[in-house]
Symmetry: C2
Subunit: 289 residues, 2 copies
Amino acid sequence: MAKDKKARVDDLRELLRVAPGRQVDLAAYDARATPAGPQKKAAGREAIAAMGAELAHLQERLYAASTAGDRRRLLLVLQGIDTSGKGGTVKHVIGLFNPSGCRIRAFKQPTDEERKHHFLWRIRKELPEAGEIGIFDRSHYEDVLIVRVHELVPKDVWSGRYDEINRFEQSLADDGVTVVKCFLHISKDKQHERLLARLDNPDKYWKFNPGDIEERQHWDDYQAAYAEVLSRCSTPQAPWYVIPADRKWYRNWAVSRLLLEQLRELDPRYPEADFDVAACRERLLAERS
Amino acid sequence: MAKDKKARVDDLRELLRVAPGRQVDLAAYDARATPAGPQKKAAGREAIAAMGAELAHLQERLYAASTAGDRRRLLLVLQGIDTSGKGGTVKHVIGLFNPSGCRIRAFKQPTDEERKHHFLWRIRKELPEAGEIGIFDRSHYEDVLIVRVHELVPKDVWSGRYDEINRFEQSLADDGVTVVKCFLHISKDKQHERLLARLDNPDKYWKFNPGDIEERQHWDDYQAAYAEVLSRCSTPQAPWYVIPADRKWYRNWAVSRLLLEQLRELDPRYPEADFDVAACRERLLAERS
């Protein structure tokens, strides 16, 4: 009976959202959890496929609405430690959408030019336009994650960024951007397993970076840095969701489901005709007579 | 027997390519043709789905190779008159790839800023990076198509652009860009049918522009402008392919198949490890002991 109850999903956002102001301790989050929805891989994959048509349809309506002046768009922010599955999420979840309405950007180590600017400079340039779904694989949060863990800037600089980020995201919300931030939460053991798997398959060597092993020495620092991000930057206008990501199928299902709930709430509409439909039809039909 | 022979595909590129230097008369091309491959919609859709895994795999290898310095990338240029299906091709063909490796750009009427620059300025900014698949929905060819038909610039300006474009595309080829240019060829009757269909469905009003009816008055001028493009700009380094596009499923199959053949020929490889695999594995395993 407990299982049946668990499998029902009314509002996954409510379930996975970090309540604004809440102090997060990541140790309390089980990365293998399946707190709602499908409980097995096969069912999860089926449920993802079943969402595909509705997701694509909602995306088309969002885009169509923009042609008539609706400024709304959606921005999915993916964060998580190496091997948490940011790339896999883009492939499997964003792959459900029409690629022409998606604006995907992976933020890597900043270039020399980017370093000369404010940390939000490169972010602002890549925001989705009206009607689009933007996807950030890493984001401005790197500037309070790796930058904090490795002290790439002094503490008095990075510590001011949480508030700056909240103000920035408020300004996005004011401008019609629905911001959905997903932290892909994996366990230290799962990362170990995935790194080893990359070394076991020559087709995956290109995904491996020996620096990833060193980064594991900073595991606790990263967890603390993520906890601070989740505690300070989950706001009503731009909430953080903690996605249990040890199971890839569950991660994909959960992110798909969050996007579905969000797009349903936006409920974009095909615009009315701004021309005389009957007259146009007549003109076209007149060609034949 | 003729049918069996037709259904075999060895090299669709050879079949659909405009031979460099050939004088094209579009009236000689049947927009409903199915010159090779599947002959029915159901078979066509199956054949497209069957290509998906290999296309995605080749794309991953192209991207992986770029992480080790391989500069190669692919650029798909889609051109065709209104309703020829450029958007549908992106949705159904590019939808087979991992969206994170695709850089899609639709070129609309130039902005004021774009107009101040050379016609290739906005094009250069949107080229795919190493390892990516770039997709242009319309392109620099608009500057010898709509610009020519409506005399938006004097003839002595646009008439010099064919050679300019050939030099530009040669420079792309020199830089590792494989340029695949597809002209989506539809009949005037098919356009009529598709425009009417947009007026019959309120969910499609947003795709309709009354100006499309006026543009039909220039049908012959556009056909002549396309014929000139195909005659003058199909080069060994950047050939044009004429895609029979009255049947959507055939159009999608043909473009998918061209990309497959091209990617197979590029044959990108996963890079070798540039680190000591055994040592890394040992270090990871040592964590556990």
